[in-house]
């Protein structure tokens, strides 16, 4: 047993941190709300250039032949920077569906080259049962990917695309003409769902980690009563709680990143479920606490803390919010008792 990132994975982490920091220093994340998709496109093409969009896809299918853990390293680092790219939706959820649930090979290869694919969900961003109606993390011109009623990942041309004004302006949702869909029952489809849950968990972990770092910077430098606010226990304990959440999110997320790909399917689903529901709640809590530490500036448009909290809510809701994973876990516990 070995639970730690490899040297390569640490370098990967560093690369994304550097690329994002540089990009967002020139153009703050908040610009992505109204730049016609320019910032998103710029970062996405950088990720394609670094061969990181096809990490989940084997080389002979046009991908980079990485692991889900590699993809989670990228997703976490992107989350840290509130990156406005569809990495979880496209590079993890859609790619996993296409790969594990028998999707068309040419689409999988095109996805790795950076072509736009959105994963299709239900109206509450749950995994669709009969019809899929919402394109998640939509990009202009994207095709949709959903599990068909016969259990195969299927690509759809999207029509009647109608943008939804939702909580997170950095990851767009669009209503689309409903396409027929089926619930995950084959092992491949279940594994794809576990990968999507884990990918979302990684992004949520990154969002939380970024909130902690911002809060810490501020708590060290902001002075009241002639001392840094970070020297007061009331503020320290908020920061310690954030650290606790971030580190436990990391433990379950990276555990799931291995299990979802390699463990027997029941265990894969169990760990991925725990990752999704735990990190969803924790990331929201951490982003909220981060705003509390920042004080007034944290609730302005000027600061990106609200964008972070918005992204946390969206990714918490995605793929069945808390409920789908919690029901799966409860079922398992009852079966065993």
């Amino acid at each position: 047993m070995h639970f730690a990132l490899s040297e390569d994975q640490r370098i990967l982490q560093q690369t994304i941190d550097e690329v994002s920091a540089q990009l967002f220093a020139d153009s703050p994340v908040g610009n992505a709300r109204a730049d016609g998709g320019a910032l998103r496109a710029k970062l996405w093409s950088k990720l394609v250039e670094l061969d990181l969009v096809g990490l989940l896809v084997p080389e002979h299918q046009g991908g980079a032949g990485g692991s889900l853990t590699d993809a989670c390293v990228v997703a976490e680092a992107l989350g840290r920077h509130i990156a406005p790219v569809p990495y979880v939706g496209t590079a993890i959820a859609a790619a996993a569906l296409l790969r594990f649930a028998g999707g068309p090979g040419e689409s999988l290869a095109a996805l790795c080259r950076g072509e736009a694919y959105s994963v299709l969900l239900g109206g509450q961003l749950e995994d669709p049962v009969a019809t899929a109606t919402v394109a998640f993390d939509w990009v202009d011109g994207a095709q949709g990917v959903a599990l068909s009623p016969d259990g195969l990942a299927t690509v759809h041309d999207l029509v009647d695309v109608d943008p939804i004004t939702d909580v997170d302006p950095l990851h767009r949702l669009c209503r689309v003409r409903p396409v027929p869909a089926g619930a995950a029952s084959s092992e491949g489809a279940r594994r794809a769902r576990a990968a999507a849950w884990t990918g979302a968990a990684a992004f949520l972990t990154g969002l939380a980690d970024g909130a902690l770092r911002q809060a810490l910077d501020y708590a060290r430098q902001r002075e009241q009563y002639d001392r840094p606010i970070g020297s007061f226990q009331a503020v320290k304990h908020l920061c310690a709680d954030m650290l606790f959440d971030v580190e436990t999110c990391r433990s379950i997320t990276y555990g799931a990143s291995w299990a979802a790909e390699h463990a027997p399917i029941d265990e894969a689903e169990r760990v991925a479920s725990a990752a999704k529901c735990y990190t969803g709640a924790a990331a929201i809590r951490v982003c909220e606490t981060g705003i509390q530490v920042l004080g007034g500036i944290g609730v302005t448009q000027e600061h990106d803390a609200h964008l972070r909290l918005r992204s946390a809510h969206l990714h918490h809701a995605a793929f069945g919010n808390l409920d789908a994973p919690l029901m799966l876990l409860a079922g398992r516990v009852l079966d065993k008792a």
Binding site: F3, A240, A274, Y278, A330
Partner: protein, 377 residues
């Protein structure tokens, strides 16, 4: 990342499971500590004689010369097999191993590891709880003896123990933690009085120790003078690790007991109950993965440090979540087991107090891991 057993780990696990199949006690674990203690001790002695305890201690002191990985497998399989709990004292051999002289290790470690002699740790005092460095128990040198006077409290299992690893102030002029030394105190020494503290659930796990002109030989100091603080911090870091103390299997057992309760109540539990069960199961997965991560760090040679405060907070959070779940499930006053679960719930409140309160753990995280400035005062 690779969460599978290595071939060597898999062989160890298979041998252990085979042994457990043949050797588990058939009578149920008593719920009252006074009866549970001899039951646990007897099973642990049997484990030890067959080579399943003290796995990560060197062979020459009675261990098996294996590593933390095997300890974790042991803890996991004991839990799966519904085996009796281990005595939560494995971490007390650590300071003897790291700081003991050859003679101390030879004399004390083998019987400690075999559970033939029971140890306890005398750290807290009535006036020195969270602020442990302010402890007042004094050790004064007289000829070739140390004379101890003071009062210890919250000492786990002192009523069952033969020896106490005790902190006392040897240099009243040195600042706080610099004047503290560690001693090996036989509890049979004249002048020692042990008085059990009855916990809210009726258990007598904790006790007070009164030291009244207790004379122990010079050779009973552990480490050098003023090593006491360092030794204590090592002990608490081990004590805080879930890997070392085997909480995981206990909590897993609680969860499956609670799931069984749900099944006796209804065949179609409502959504709120399912959510609560799911949340407890998720919390256990988080604890399991966090333990694996900590364990992996330990295997690669990193000793436990301030991040063990995260482990401690996590253990407490999981325990208290399970207890909250039990309260929400056992609302019927006539439900069997309701009073026992309430006692467990009461005991669960201690988790965020002992071994460094949850507030102290947060201070440690904020100051030592996040580098925030020290608080005033």
């Amino acid at each position: 990342m690779d969460l599978r057993d290595s071939p060597k780990e898999a062989r160890f696990r298979a041998r252990l499971c085979a042994w457990l199949k043949e050797n588990l006690p058939t009578d149920p674990e008593p719920t009252v500590l006074a009866e549970r203690w001899p039951y646990m001790r007897e099973f642990q002695q049997r484990l030890y004689r067959s080579g399943w305890v003290a796995l990560s201690y060197p062979k020459e002191v009675g261990g098996q010369g294996l590593g933390p990985m095997e300890e974790a497998i042991l803890s996991e399989e004991l839990g799966k097999a519904n085996a009796p709990s281990l005595l939560p004292l494995g971490h007390l051999g650590r300071p003897l191993l790291s700081y003991g002289t050859d003679e101390q290790r030879r004399r004390y470690l083998p019987p400690l590891l075999a559970s033939d002699e029971i140890w306890c740790q005398g750290f807290s005092e009535p006036q020195a709880g969270s602020d442990l460095a302010s402890l007042r128990t004094r050790a004064v040198r007289e000829g070739d003896e140390w004379v101890l006077n003071g009062h210890k409290i919250w000492t786990s299992y002192a009523a069952f123990a033969d020896f106490c690893l005790l902190l006392a102030r040897t240099d009243p002029d040195a600042v706080r933690h610099r004047g503290i030394s560690a001693f090996i105190v036989p509890l049979s020494t004249p002048g020692v009085t042990v008085r059990p503290i009855v916990l809210a659930n009726g258990d007598e796990e904790f006790a007070e120790i009164f030291l009244d002109d207790v004379r122990i030989p010079e050779a009973n100091m552990l480490g050098r003078p003023a090593d006491g603080w360092r030794i204590a911090m090592d002990v608490v870091n081990y004590e805080r690790g879930a890997v070392e103390t085997g909480y995981l299997p206990k909590f897993e057992r609680y969860l499956s007991e609670l799931a069984a309760v749900v099944k006796t109540q209804t065949s179609t539990p409502d959504r709120a109950i399912l959510r609560a069960l799911g949340e407890a199961a998720a919390a256990l997965e988080v604890l399991r993965m966090h333990c694996l991560r900590t364990l992996s760090d330990r295997v690669s040679g990193a000793p436990p440090g301030p991040e063990s405060s995260i482990d401690k907070l996590l253990m407490t959070a999981v325990e208290q979540k399970l207890m909250a779940l039990s309260l929400s499930l056992l609302t019927d006053t006539t439900a069997p087991g309701r009073a026992e679960w309430f006692d467990r719930y009461l005991y669960g409140r201690a988790g965020s107090i002992y071994g460094g309160s949850a507030q102290i753990q947060r201070n440690i995280l904020a100051e030592r891991l996040l580098g925030l400035p020290r608080s005033p005062g």
